[in-house]
């Protein structure tokens, strides 16, 4: 007891000492005034004792008496402060010193630190370990997947794995150090020398040698790096393009577009100077763009956007501007027409009024009336092209009209315009129809006009360009303009006329197709003709089996017919030894045969037999009638017909008999169980339908049906091993992986027990897949 208490006191003492030690330069040290302190204490006690004798101050609070001052060397008293003492408070009164800051920090850190959490239990820890190990292992093993798959799919595996062969030395190298020794060898050498056979000099060119030496590793690496770089660059570029495409700022796009247009113009100008023919091509392209524009009605304020803007235009200045811009663009793109009309109003305009697009539209109309319009339209494609050229003209004209209107109104209602357009088109078509009815001959002239127009348009465009380029290309333009319009006489107009009037029926589609193609374009006739030929070819076999089919059908009708069909009568056997029978003779004989077999009607018997066989094969109906149920019972009572009908379960009809349409045949439908025992009745794994599997086993693999080599190949073993050779597990180097990479199985080997069963399963699955 005493020992322990002493110990504890010692402990406290130590603690207090430590605490006291912290402030080192504390002014009052207890040891200094120990001597006189003792005496004073005694004196004080004495005084107290005396004073207490009078009994006045008896209930004074008992006070600690040892440490007179606040601090003792053994303990800290909180007397007087009235609040708890913090650790930092202990430091407070001392003058600040830089060294203390760190201590403070440390203390703060100590204070802020939470308690350490409980360690996980064992299972949890193990599971985490396993998971990590599994992930690592599966990652390491997944690199073998392609090899596993390859080996699985390989037709044949040869073990032990073959190392790549050492480059075989050419014959000449081998022969270099060799000399003929035996007489036989010498003789052979002599013969060879006589015939000037080169024995030792190399026959390989350096190129061949280089080819023999495969591409070196460094080269391959360099090449690969280059390729990689190129690919990376490409992907960067693509990404950039995509980014730019995604930018939604219209302003940006506008700027980009303008820049592009400017650049194109500049390019064109330079091209004109450098290479006029190319420039002409470019011009054509532009022309085409214009045509497309005119066709597509892209900038006609008819789109969705334009409609929405039209609604807003009243209030929104920007919208109005945008619309106007669009219209301006449209005008710009379709401006050439005006130029044309200016230049050729006298000839073209007059003509156009009367003979506008009758040809093409008419044709299409007729086709629609007559036969399949799609086919016809395809065959008259070039005619269609003309239509394309022609139609937009009309449209654009109407558009121009429209535009002027819209400008006046300033607030065009899109739907109205659309409706009007449609109306106009319809009226145009009707008019053209009328034209066709009245005079279909006008098509040719119209065509000519058309070609002229095209030319004039071209000229106009070129003139415009010339203006831009300060009339550098004037001669060219004029030459284009003065080019005489090509007058092509259509040879088959007369043919077309009756065709139009006749309105061919559906049945003669191909004929008129061919005619059309003939008249339309001589160059393109091949296709329909071929189609026709094909059709004829199709027809032919159709025709041929037609007769036998009919025959067969008639044969099927009655067996009597079948057996009594008159055989092809042959005049003579043409053999000197055979007896020839005349027709009357034959008929006589037939009569005799008929008489001989008058008794047994073979055919009827056979039909009866067949009927019986069919009946026997049919599934039977089940009669579930209970006699006496719900009616009077008794002997000899029949349940009524209605009830019997109600409770008769009809058997489902089986598949049709094989001899259904063969009157003279009875085919046994019973299943041959002996054969079935030898048939496959389980569908193997990857197949889902038995037809698929049957296809794979249709080829016989025996040597009876195959040549020797085919037989060997078909029956080659899946795995070939060399007897007496160790089959080592596959290594990194065997499959071209770098050996320096960390061994993938080391992890598993180090902690083999850490892999749980589940993970092992997964691993297995991985390797299987």
């Amino acid at each position: 007891m005493s020992a322990t208490s002493a110990n504890s006191s010692l402990l406290t003492l130590n603690q207090s000492e430590e605490l006291v030690d912290l402030p080192k330069d504390y002014p009052l040290s207890a040891s200094e005034d120990e001597g006189d302190g003792d005496g004073e204490r005694k004196h004080q006690k004495l005084l107290e004792a005396i004073s207490s004798l009078d009994g006045k101050n008896r209930w004074k609070v008992a006070e600690r008496s040892e440490a007179s001052l606040k601090v003792s060397e053994f303990n800290v008293s909180s007397e007087g402060t009235r609040e708890k003492l913090g650790l930092s408070d202990l430091l407070q009164p001392i003058k600040t010193s830089p060294s203390l800051a760190t201590v403070k920090k440390q203390l703060n850190r100590v204070k802020s630190k939470k308690t350490v959490e409980l360690p996980l239990n064992k299972e949890e820890v193990a599971r985490i370990h396993r998971e990590v190990a599994f992930n690592k292992t599966s990652q390491a093993l997944s690199k073998w997947d392609p090899i596993v798959v390859k080996n699985r799919n390989a037709e044949q595996l040869v073990f032990p794995l073959e190392k790549e062969q050492a480059a075989f030395a050419p014959l000449e190298h081998m022969l270099g150090g060799w000399k003929a020794r035996t007489p036989l060898e010498q003789e052979i050498f002599n013969v060879l020398n006589k015939n000037k056979q080169p024995v030792t000099d190399p026959l390989l060119t350096p190129v061949e040698k280089a080819a023999l030496r495969a591409m070196s590793l460094e080269e391959a690496k360099m090449r690969r790096a280059e390729l990689q770089r190129a690919r990376a660059l490409q992907s960067y570029y693509e990404a950039k393009a995509r980014r730019e495409k995604k930018i939604k700022s219209k302003k940006y796009h506008k700027i980009v577009k303008k820049g592009k247009a400017k650049k194109a113009l500049k390019d064109f100008e330079t091209l004109q100077k450098v290479n006029p023919t190319a420039a002409l091509e470019e011009l054509e392209k532009m022309e085409k763009a214009r045509m497309l524009e005119r066709m597509s009605l892209k900038h006609q304020n008819s789109g969705k956007w334009a409609k929405s803007k039209a609604i807003m235009a009243k209030y929104d200045l920007e919208a109005r501007q945008a619309m106007q811009e669009q219209l301006a663009k449209n005008k710009e793109l379709t401006q050439k027409l005006q130029a044309v009309s200016e230049s050729e109003e006298e000839e073209g305009g007059v003509e156009e009024d009367g003979l506008l697009i009758p040809d093409v539209v008419n044709e299409v109309q007729v086709n629609a009336n007559g036969s399949n319009p799609w086919m016809l339209r395809r065959c008259t494609s070039d005619v269609n092209e003309m239509k394309i050229q022609k139609d937009p003209e009309q449209l654009s004209k109407s558009m121009a009209y429209e535009d002027s209107e819209s400008e006046e109104e300033k607030s065009p209602v899109a739907e109205e315009t659309l409706l009007r357009e449609i109306e106009k088109k319809r009226s145009l078509r009707e008019r053209s129809k009328l034209n066709q009815d009245s005079k279909p001959v006008g098509s040719q002239e119209a065509q000519d006009a058309n070609s002229q127009e095209v030319l004039s348009e071209l000229r106009a465009l070129s003139q415009k360009l010339n203006k831009k380029t300060h009339q550098t290309q004037k001669p060219k333009g004029s030459s284009l303009g003065t080019a005489p319009p090509v007058q092509t006489e259509e040879p088959s107009l007369e043919e077309e006329e009756p065709l139009l009037l006749q309105k061919p029926q559906r049945a003669t589609t191909l004929e008129d197709l061919e005619e059309l193609s003939k008249e339309g374009h001589s160059g393109n006739t091949e296709l329909p003709r071929r189609a026709k030929q094909e059709q004829q070819a199709e027809k032919k076999p159709d025709d041929q089996p037609d007769a036998p089919k009919k025959n067969r059908k008639s044969q099927m009708i009655s067996l009597q017919n079948l057996l009594t069909t008159k055989p092809p009568s042959v005049k003579s056997l043409a053999a000197p030894t055979t007896m020839e029978l005349e027709d009357e003779d034959e008929s006589y004989q037939k009569q005799m045969i008929k008489e001989a077999f008058a008794g047994d009607d073979v055919i009827r018997d056979f039909l009866k037999e067949k009927r019986e066989a069919v009946e026997a094969c049919k599934p039977k109906d089940v009669d579930l009638t209970l006699p006496g149920w719900g009616e009077w019972g008794g002997v000899g009572l029949q349940p009524n017909a209605k009830k019997r009908r109600r409770f008769l379960m009809k058997a489902p009809e089986g598949p049709p008999r094989k001899d259904q349409n063969l009157p003279n045949v009875i085919i046994n439908e019973k299943r041959n169980i002996h054969t079935a025992a030898h048939q496959v009745h389980v569908l193997p794994y990857p197949f889902t339908h038995h037809h698929q599997f049957e296809r794979t086993i249709q080829t016989p693999i025996g040597s009876t049906w195959n040549t020797q080599r085919a037989f060997q190949k078909l029956t080659a073993p899946k795995v070939i091993t060399k007897p007496g050779h160790i089959i080592k597990p596959i290594k990194n180097e065997d499959v071209g992986y770098r050996s320096s990479s960390r061994s993938d199985l080391s992890m598993v080997q180090r902690h083999p027990t850490q892999l749980s069963i589940r993970h092992k399963k997964q691993l297995k699955k991985h390797s299987v897949n």
Partner: protein
């Protein structure tokens, strides 16, 4: 790339500069190189079609292997593809040049007949694994067929033929004319055996075509090597002989005698007397199954396995006396002709006939099936000769009335049809191989000294053996037999040792009797009925269908698009699509049904209002 190398020059073009001065080394193959190819390309001397009769004797005594020079006569190799494929021959290390570079040319046309997979049949869409298997199988088939077609080059012999001058009828050519025209060896194949003493003869050639067995009605049995005319044995069994047949080799001989079936060896020693087969009228031997099929007077068709000596099955045809029997060499089905004009097809696996065909108004007198199993010729008491198609339809292709009716029929290996009518033998030929014989005009006719009693074409020889009242006649029929034989299968020149070895092999490859069925390729099909049954049972056992399509679960999508509503919507879409498919299918079916049966289906019972509760 570069200019095509000349046949003489073998050095690469780069080297030419360096070597310009030196003379190029000359190789031993260089000078000959052009010669053989040119010879190979050119055909033989043009043959005049006008020759009166050309009779090519089947086989000179040297085998086809030695007779390589004739290979060149067959211009089978299409030249074009090779040139296109390999414009420049490859160089080997030593500088040698392959005169025939690239893979061997593939005769695609010829390979077609070796094809087994019918690609016109479309399969359902298959999974990738199954598809890869299918592709592999197809590639294998293609390669095997190509190889087979390529090896046809080794079939050096060509069939003989008989061709008349303009307007001349080949049927007018007599045997004596033919014998005069052909070489001595072939002429020796025409002979007559005058055996008037022992009545009409039946005869049988062995499978190799080398041996002939003959049995006279009055007990005369003989076996001989008819080519060398060496008699193997000659006995009199002191009993009526109805039929005679070689078993798998020429060493064993089955004779249908008056009471029982006897088996003799080639010495004429009786080995067996099979009493279970009594009153046999006709014999047939199925060589690949080692089965001897016998038709008896009592109406039984009995199959005897000669390899183990057991009777496999005895089938009662229930049609009275069986007189007419033949086998289909393609599928080993036995055809029986009956007196009611039907022909029934039998296999030992089934107790009932596989099929019955009504062929004639009178009884069937004779039948023959060609070697490919495509055509059957029948003749009946109504004096008709008909040719039937055996490929599923059993319909007559052509027919003809003969003045006397044919009592015996025989097909040759190349499809010639011989008919014995009284003492006349008529032979008809088809247009080409694989076509039925046209009955318009006979190809050859011959009159014998007695009524025909047995008729058979000799395999691998252009010879028709006829047994008749006056003995045996061996006729020359150009173009009757297959010119090329399979040395491993039927070698006419085999030695005793070879025969014994072949016997062992054949026994090892014996086909079980129960595998005989109408379509032998059915064995390569899946037994669908059992498959379905097992599937059903499995579903019952498990309680669910393990192969059923899993219900559609929409994939979860990100960015809030995987809301419940959208999931449901997607699910609904798939369901609707499936439903639509179903409806479409059913509509199609209905339409088809409508087209199929325009006539209203006669319903046995009136439909009642209660029907709706039945299902």
């Amino acid at each position: 790339m570069e200019t095509a190398p000349k046949p003489g020059g073998d050095a690469p073009p780069k080297k030419n500069k360096l070597r310009a001065k030196r003379k190029k080394p000359r190789r031993y193959w260089e000078e000959e190189e052009t010669a053989p190819t040119a010879a190979g390309a050119s055909l033989g001397p043009p043959r005049s079609k006008k020759r009166k009769q050309e009779f090519r004797p089947q086989r000179p005594k040297n085998t086809y292997i030695q007779n390589k020079s004739r290979v060149s006569k067959k211009p089978q190799i299409p030249k074009k593809p090779r040139e296109r494929r390999n414009p420049e021959p490859q160089r080997t290390l030593s500088g040698a040049q392959d005169p025939f570079p690239g893979p061997a040319p593939a005769p695609v046309e010829a390979a077609r007949k070796f094809r087994r997979i019918d690609k016109s049949k479309k399969l359902l869409h298959s999974k990738s694994k199954a598809r890869s298997r299918l592709e592999a199988a197809e590639a294998e088939e293609e390669e095997a067929s190509l190889r087979a077609a390529r090896s046809e080059l080794l079939l050096a012999e060509e069939p003989g033929f008989l061709e008349g001058e303009d307007g001349e009828d080949t049927a007018k050519i007599r045997q004596t004319d033919i014998v005069e025209a052909v070489d001595i060896a072939s002429a020796a194949k025409h002979f007559d055996l005058n055996l008037r003493q022992f009545g009409p003869y039946r005869l049988n050639y062995s499978r190799t075509g080398r041996h002939l067995a003959l049995g006279g009605r009055r007990g005369h049995v003989a076996a001989l090597d008819w080519v060398t005319k060496k008699l193997m044995c000659e006995i009199n069994v002191m009993e009526a002989v109805r039929d005679i047949r070689f078993l798998h080799s020429e060493a064993l001989l089955a004779v249908a005698q008056n009471r029982w079936l006897h088996i003799y060896d080639n010495q004429g020693i009786e080995l067996h007397c099979i009493r279970r087969c009594d009153r046999i009228t006709q014999l047939e031997f199925l060589p690949f199954h080692f089965l001897l099929a016998t038709a008896s007077e009592t109406g039984f068709l009995t199959y005897l396995d000669v390899s183990v000596g057991k009777i496999v099955t005895a089938l009662n045809a229930r049609a009275g006396r069986l007189d007419v029997m033949t086998q289909n060499p393609y599928n080993a089905i036995i055809h029986l002709g009956h007196s009611n004009g039907t022909v029934s097809l039998w296999s030992p696996a089934m107790k009932e006939p596989l099929a019955k065909i009504l062929c004639h108004r009178g009884g069937v007198r004779a039948m023959a099936v060609d070697s490919t199993g495509t055509y059957m010729a029948t003749s009946g008491l109504d004096h008709q000769l008909k040719i039937f198609d055996l490929r599923g339809t059993f319909q007559p292709l052509s027919s003809r009335t003969l003045p006397q009716g044919a009592g015996h029929l025989a097909f040759s290996q190349r499809g010639l049809l011989a008919a014995g009518m009284g003492d006349v033998v008529n032979i008809w030929s088809g247009q080409g191989k694989g076509s039925p014989p046209s009955l318009e005009k006979p190809y050859l006719t011959h009159r014998l000294s007695g009524h025909v009693h047995g008729l058979q074409f000799c395999p691998f020889e252009d010879v028709l053996g006829v047994g008749h009242n006056g003995g045996i006649t061996s006729m020359l029929v150009p173009g009757a037999a297959e010119p090329n034989f399979d040395g491993l299968e039927n070698n006419p020149y085999r030695s005793r040792k070879q025969r014994q070895e072949w016997e062992v092999k054949a026994l090892l490859e014996k086909v079980p009797a129960e595998l005989i069925c109408l379509d032998p390729r059915a064995l390569a099909e899946v037994d669908v009925i059992t498959l379905e049954q097992e599937k059903k049972e499995r579903i019952e056992r498990l309680g669910y269908d393990p192969e059923a399509k899993a219900p559609f679960h929409p994939k979860p999508k990100q960015k809030g698009r995987s809301s419940t509503a959208s999931l449901v919507k997607r699910k609904r879409k798939v369901m609707d699509e499936e439903h639509r498919d179903k409806v479409r299918q059913s509509l199609k079916q209905k339409q088809q049904q409508k087209e199929d049966g325009k006539k209203p289906k006669p319903t046995g019972t009136r439909s009642s209002a209660l029907d709706r509760f039945m299902h």
